[in-house]
């Protein structure tokens, strides 16, 4: 449900940056979203379609890369991908003392325009 405010925040950041870089038409935006972030790619896309009415964004395509939840076990030091957000424990030794390396991302990697 908060995808709308996330996208509004993203557009503010890009608007400022585009202004500084004298870009008036954006063609692509690349967003990286971790699977443990509570933002759904589908809802982010929908929010963008709804909000991107102004000249700067109207022809922009939003690309979303989902990033896996990657953890490192603090007991046996193995690295692994957690298949589900609710299954973060180590599949090698069963320990739940793990450190999350990726999976909580929510950032703009780049945008393109003229």
């Amino acid at each position: 449900m908060h995808e709308l405010s996330l996208i509004a925040g993203m557009m503010d950041l890009i608007r400022n940056s585009a202004d500084k870089n004298q870009i008036t038409q954006i063609s692509r935006i690349k967003l990286v979203v971790g699977k443990l972030s509570m933002a759904l790619p589908h809802s982010l896309s929908f929010a963008f379609e709804t909000l991107a009415q102004e000249e700067l964004f109207k022809d922009a395509e939003l690309l979303i890369e989902e990033r896996e939840i990657c953890c490192q076990c603090q007991q046996c030091q193995q690295q692994y991908v957690a298949e589900m957000p609710s299954r973060l424990f180590c599949p090698y030794c069963g320990s739940s003392d793990t450190q999350m390396l990726t999976g909580r991302e929510l950032f703009i990697e780049f945008y393109e325009g003229d």
Binding site: N21, I23, L36, S37, M38, S86, F107, E109, F110
Partner: protein, 219 residues
Amino acid sequence: MAQIRMETNILGANDMLAAKNRRIFKEAGMLVVNLMSSPGSGKTTLLEKTIEGIKGRIRLGVIEGDLYTDQDAMRIENKGVEVVQINTEGTCHLDASMVEKAWRRLAHHPIQLLFIENVGNLVCPAEFDLGEHFKVVVLSTTEGHDKVLKYPLVFNQARAVVLNKIDLLPYTDFDMDAFSRDLQLVNPMVKVFRVSGRTGEGIDQWNQWLLEEVGKQHF
């Protein structure tokens, strides 16, 4: 065609404000707890009981987040504690700027323990740092033990989980073993309190822990 690399967190603006809040809270010498749960789990009742238990020993303040009403804030005010209402008017979570504005109205009160009661929602509030010292999740037995795995982020982020409505346990299908096991998977370090806001069961242990946490703050 130009490509501009940003590598900028969308929540960056919120995170910066949260960091500012954290500095303000530190300078004010208080412990700040972000209280999160789904609607109807008993956050406000828990706060009422907490206030009754420790009001005489510590100076408390509450920031109440709610979509539209001030009913919860009135309940807290009736307990004789400083309270500021935030109405998010439809927004599903509190953010750092809302908390900063609310805090300005409390700033002249010497508060040692500030509760921020978030909007009832287990999804969105987990994403927004408010500048708190730690998060506490309230879950009630009537919601079911499966919520831990269904909303892992909020439980993963919590310093403590308060399992409320423990008096209703015999009338529910809440599986205590499954709850403990799942919580261990999602957050092995988390502290758990089993309480009843209605009967007062377990509130003393929760209050004792809060007082210890306030005492631990080295400002």
